[in-house]
Amino acid sequence: MSITSRFWVSLIFSLPMVLEMVFHPLFGWMLPGGQWTMLILTSIVMLISAVPFWQSAWASFTKHHANMDTLVAIGTATAYFYSMYAMATGREVFFESAAVVTTFVLLGQVFEERMRNNASNAVAKLVDLQAKDAEVMRDNQWVRLPLSEVVVGDQLRARPGEKIAVDGVIVDGQSTIDESMVTGESMPVEKKVGDSVIGATINGTGTVTYTAKKVGDDTMLAQIVDMVKKAQNSHAPIQKLTDKVSDIFVPVVLIIAILTFMVWYVIVGASVANSLIFAVSVVVIACPCALGLATPTALMVGTGRSAKMGILIKNGEVLEAVNDVKTVVFDKTGTITNGKPIVTDVIGDRATVLATAAALEATSEHPLATAVLAQAKADDLKVSEVSDFKAVEGKGVTALVGGKRAFVGNDKLAADSVLPDELQAQVADLQDQAKTVVYVGVENQVIGLIAIQDAPKPSSKSAIAALHARGLKTVMLTGDNVRVAQAIAKQVGIDEVIADVLPGDKADHVQALQKDGAVAFVGDGINDAPALTVADVGIAMGSGTDIAIESGGIVLVKNDLMDVDRALALSKKTFNRIKLNLFWAFVYNVLGIPVAAGLFYAIGLTLSPEFAGLAMALSSLSVVTSSVLLNRVKIESKAVTA
């Protein structure tokens, strides 16, 4: 029989006895049939609703375990069987206690069951996002296939309004795609040929054809689901306390209950019935389910909610570690900045300078070359052929363009050439603006400068302001030179810059910073993986490499630095909620026991078994409710300016 129906049976048959409890003192109304009616009603409640508690209590007893069922079973059985004995020998009975306690305990469990299902449905919602089928190219025809038959390399098509089936790259068409369900990014994103698409996102206006790159368990959605599942069921270190407590709690409560009875009966000299009532109250109020629910429910709701915002928190440990973070360290390229350098200024004759540079860089894969070529293309310049191409290690490149020797490179390469004064003056200026300067020259004469910059992301400045508002110190780690690093730091408001860091040394710098307190490291590249692991909290950017995501404790699906602040806020909120829950659960149990034992009898404060049962049900309920309410808590940044 389900808990819900056991509850209803219990409620209906205890109700007459509750009515008597209320109306007897007021109007002298008595239950027809007196004790016999009570015996029959209570026996029904016991048989249908309470016996399952007794069964599982006995089963665990034989295994040397005790749990909340043990307490409920002992409480109800004692009240029931003692009342039968008391009835036979003409003493005071308390059948109603046994029935009402059963009702309240079941009430608590009914609500708790609902709430627990409520708290755990974040994963189900994520799984539901998955497309069920997809239009796939097979034998040169579009056919609709179930998702399980899609393999890597398949050509798929998504019409407007349809879901993208799997992760892939667009090969034809363009569209805007709503990625909010996966990344939490509320604005639809423009996608064109060459851009990657994420499975389970919704295609907007255009039809796109894309090649499947990741299917099944490898897709981003599947990875997210997996991560959320693990996080929701992980343990927070604070929970070790309750694990220990729950092992010894129930036997200790039983001992306290026996002591209570002995003190009342032997020392105070109360009647058996009264002494027994105190002992039963102790057993009932002490049910530790609130304690056991405090951490897992909050963890479940907190991680589920953050996943919806595109922030994946890997486990409870990370959540707890966030609380101690004093310093946030950022990688520069790709984290604070876009990671894609662009040409910002061209000094000299723009067309000539750019065309020359582009011709020379056409075969280079250097990131700066990519920026130059992109700009040349944007300016619609014709890139001419070169001959006798030479790369000069650590300096730049030279080649013959239209029969003349031209070069593109840094100051070292330009050192042998004539540099006009007006250009010389510009160099320092540009460098102070965090721009990398490239010299372009023909026949030992510098003809122009190209300034290239990896610009900060639009949100970087406000994100760092938000972290400052939280009282955190911010540090930037970069392999770039001091001048550029300082300039970027100034633009976004970073406190401290550590520049010229070799990729292998990032972890060491993080360790050094850890001497002043816990450190969170935010990064995205392969070379960030050691630092992400070493840091107390590793925050990986979702656009980053798989290895970085693997190493991070928190993954930001959106590429937005503001999420660092949100992740910290959410983790703190969740952890505080766990602490609050534990506090309330302990209060119920720790304060409830002395009251139930009759310690405050002298000042008229006692707790009957019925009220102990109600208090117990309410304690579980309040803990689970407080966890579910975490879904409604506002997450806002502390920064005033945005």
Binding site: S56, M68, Q239, P251, L259, P288
Partner: protein, 123 residues
């Protein structure tokens, strides 16, 4: 007189509780048998888990069959926190749980409320 009897019985009961719940008692352990590259262990969920300690061989696909006969809502879920498994156990139904045995070690599982524990050893 009755006071003295209550006192003696009470102290005896406390002594029994301490011995029964805190004393050292053997834990039911079961090692999986490997058949056709597959290992299976049946776990009965009744007032706890029997066996309470399961030993699996590393690298061989493993399935634990959980059957709950206990009516307690305490036991209605089984959670393997290290594997991200949180499986509902409807009463009377056998639920197969696949365990990834690629990483040897000692893991624990627990009921949904973390009141009952079992141990999983992969070696």
């Amino acid at each position: 007189m009755s006071q003295i009897i209550v006192l003696i019985v009470g102290i005896a009961l406390i002594g029994f509780i301490i011995w029964w719940f805190f004393g050292k008692h053997a834990v039911a352990t079961e090692s999986a048998k490997v058949e056709n590259q597959q290992q299976t262990v049946d776990v009965l969920v009744k007032g706890g888990y029997s066996p309470e300690r399961v030993v699996l061989k590393a690298g061989v696909p493993a399935v634990l069959n959980f059957t709950r006969t206990d009516p307690s809502s305490c036991l209605d879920r089984v959670v393997f926190s290290d594997f991200g498994i949180n499986q509902e156990l409807p009463k009377g139904e056998t639920q197969a749980i696949k365990i990834d045995t690629s990483k040897p070690g000692t893991y624990t599982w627990a009921c949904g409320m973390d009141m009952f524990h079992g141990q999983l050893v992969i070696e």
